[in-house]
Every structure is written in structure tokens, then in C-alpha cells.
Symmetry: C2
Subunit: 247 residues, 2 copies
């Protein structure tokens, strides 16, 4: 069996004891049927990956001892995903996939045509933790509370490039855009913005078009659903500019 | 309201009458609440897109008349997706997304480590039809019955390049691989192969490695789920070699 991987938001040091949460204990004991002496891989988003051993188990509690550090914390691409919330299964999906695709921050935004009113941020966070555990990354992306797109854009820092998927086909082909950025300089910080299924409003497009830090990208002739567009754009970014481009 | 789009597998000509299937009639009448005189967009995968009008409606039947051709049939990228079946919601998802991403043929394959035993091909076909209607393409990808990966590879035609996602990180970065192909020549036919979550067996990897028509691609340091890998690889293909690369 593969050694299970667990995210635990506590400080790590050699020989330290870690008590996992009740739901994690349930998972380890009831689902994975683990017992004393069994091994686990642990990460906290700061101290790399550690090997741990279960040393005490009861019905609802599970304690581990940290045995050794297996991997140092690595640096990650500074990539954000900004998206208009969509319905339940699709939003879970986007958040999990964005985690696998190496995004470090997830920002739900309310746009003029956003249909979904309530976002369960706690559930989104659970999805990112689960996906991070599964995909082997050493951190969990931060999920922000929903905010208005317009106020987010109004406070935009100039050192972060934003690429928005323009359904009106006003953008340049995504691969050309990312290659041009790559030719010019090392891109340190970026964000991908995906609008709602109804597209951006004309006042939003105007705001987006006039800022030289914001670039429209085009994802071809077919109308992609918002979740597809998010995964597609993040994949192309990692492939050209991110950590998929290193041999 | 946007004019609804419907796939109908019948020949089209000006003024012709089309009787839609019972389930399509149900959708138009009960779900969309359409009535006589309402407009529809229709495609059959051969004759482009037509504008039609409902001219007769009853509880279970709906007839349309074809008014005019709005778009000619276009040529599509000759791209296949070959993948090891995964569990229910994820396989539905892959098939819908592959349709949005312009694949023309979907081939489920049974590999040494494939876990899923039964594939409901009919349900997959329904997913492709629904996705094709929604994304605006003029065709529906063909879904094949599951077959063995090894026999598929044994009969492989030399004029189609196959790119397989190698989880062991033996492949070249996806963007570099696709750019190299682009530099060399126009690629006419391609296939993306995604293995099961457990990866390919060593005998499968050997078969894949030794054929000069098969190229291993790498999707970065995180372990992607099979559905994520499929969408990511298809997106990168369209971005570099396919119809997302035209301005």
C-alpha cells in the first residue's frame, strides 16, 4: 500500500508528537484501518514532507511521532485562480483541479452576471486539502472569501499580470500570449480570471480592456464551460511559463 | 433567450421536415416550454448548422421545418482521446470535456491496471451529444466500445502520432514536445493516451517506449488525476497544434 499523505497545520520538528483532528483520525482508523506503528507522510505547507508513525490510537484520537524529513519545502509558482462561482459539483471540481494544477490562491469573485449567490468556502477549503494530499504537493492553496470583481480589480497590484478568458474572442491565442510573456522576461506573479457562464458585462470588459496589466486570452472556437476554461488556461500556463516547462 | 441547439442524426435540406426523438421532444416541450413557431438551431455532423422552426407539437412529438443553413460544416482537428475508464462522475466529466476540447474520437481502453470493469458506452454517447450541443461544435465525437490497449497499439496506423502521459516522469515537457512537432511539420492526425490512476504496467511502458510513433509527455511535478491529465493534455495540444493556435 502507498503510504497515506496528510496535511496537518502544526509546526514540525524531529521527534515531535502530532495529534490529528477528529475527522483525520476517523479517516486513518475507520477508512484506512491503520494501527499503531503504521507510517504516514505529513506536510504543513512550511516544513516540507515528513515521515511519521502512529504511536497511539483510540476510538477518536490518533497521535503520530515525526520520524524524519523526507523532502524540503520547495518554492512554488505564484499563480492565482480568480473565478466566478458556479454550481456545486462544478465548483468543487474547479477547486480540486486548480490545486492539482499548482495554484497558490483561489479567489471566488462576484461579477455582474454571476448566478450563484452563496459560496461554501469551508467546503472549498476541504477540497483543496484533499487534492493537495492526493497530488503530492507540499502546500494547500489559500481560498479567499468571495469578493466583488470590480473592487478586486480596483486594488490590483501592478506587479501581478492578469490573464482573462474573453468569450467574445477579443483575446490573442493563449499559447502565443504566454510565449510572448516568456520571451520578454521572467514572469513572477500571475493570475488567471474566468468569468461566469454568461460572460463578462460590458462595463467589466471595459475595465479589463483598459488596464495594461490585464491581457485577454482566447481559448478557441468552441464555447467552453467555465470549469473547462479554468483547467485549460491553468494547464497552458504551467506548460509554457510554470513548472511543467522545466525538463 | 438563446436559441436552443439540437443534434439530430438525419439528412438536412431546405424546407425539410424533421421529427425529433421522444426524449428531445420532452426536452423542448416540457423543459424549455417551447411552442409552435419557436426557433431552434440544428446540426447533424455533416451539413453545418441550420435554423429550424417548430411547426407541430403534441404531448410526445415535435416536428420542425428547416428554414436556412446558418453555417457550413467545418473541418476539424483529427484528434483522438484514448483513456482508461475511471469511475462514474469522472468518466462523464472526461467525455464532456473532451467534446468541448474538440476531440473527434473517444476510445476507452482496458489496460493492465484498469480498475473499472463496465463502461456504459450509451451514457458516454449521451454526454458527448449534450456537450456538443452546448459548446457550439458542428459534430459529435464518436465513442468506441472499450478495447484492450495492447491490441489497439498492435494495430496502430503509422500516420497517427500518439502522445502518452508518462507518470514516471520519463517524458519531455508537454509544451516542448508539441512545439517540436509544430516546427518539424504539419501534424495531421494525433491521439492523446491517458493511463489508469495506477499508471501503465512495465510491459505497457515497454510497448509504448519502443514505437517511434509514440511519444512520452510529462505534465509536471504534481500527480494529476486521470481526468485532469486528459483535459490538460488536450488543452495544450489545441493551444500549440490545434484550432486554438490560429489568431
Amino acid at each position: 500500500m502507498r503510504v497515506p499523505r496528510l496535511f496537518v497545520d502544526q509546526n514540525f520538528s524531529l521527534g515531535q508528537t502530532i495529534s490529528v483532528s477528529e475527522s483525520q483520525a476517523h479517516y486513518l482508523i475507520q477508512v484506512l484501518r491503520m494501527s499503531e506503528g503504521d507510517k504516514l507522510r505529513l506536510f504543513n505547507g512550511r516544513d516540507g514532507e515528513w515521515l511519521g508513525k502512529i504511536f497511539s490510537i483510540s476510538r477518536r484520537h490518533c497521535s503520530l511521532k515525526l520520524c524524519s524529513q523526507k523532502e524540503k519545502q520547495n518554492s512554488e509558482e505564484d499563480l492565482w485562480l480568480i473565478f466566478s462561482p458556479i454550481k456545486r459539483s462544478r465548483i468543487d471540481f474547479v477547486v480540486s483541479k486548480a490545486t492539482e494544477l499548482g495554484v497558490i490562491r483561489i479567489l471566488p469573485v462576484i461579477t455582474d452576471f454571476t448566478n450563484v449567490k452563496r459560496v461554501n468556502t469551508q467546503r472549498l477549503i476541504s477540497n483543496t486539502v484533499e487534492a493537495a494530499q492526493q497530488c503530492g504537493r507540499l502546500s494547500v492553496p489559500r481560498v479567499l472569501e468571495p469578493q466583488s470583481l470590480k473592487s478586486l480589480l480596483a486594488d490590483w497590484k501592478v506587479d501581478r499580470k492578469l490573464f482573462y478568458c474573453d468569450e467574445t474572442r477579443g483575446g490573442s491565442p493563449i499559447n502565443k500570449t504566454f510565449n510572448d510573456v516568456k520571451m520578454k522576461n521572467k514572469l513572477n506573479s500571475a493570475a488567471i480570471l474566468i468569468g461566469p457562464e454568461g460572460g463578462f458585462s460590458s462595463s467589466e470588459l471595459e475595465l479589463l480592456n483598459k488596464n495594461p496589466n490585464f491581457t485577454a486570452i482566447d481559448l478557441g472556437p468552441r464555447v467552453l464551460r467555465a470549469d473547462t476554461a479554468a483547467i485549460a488556461a491553468l494547464s497552458c500556463w504551467q506548460a509554457v511559463l510554470g513548472d511543467w516547462s522545466n525538463a
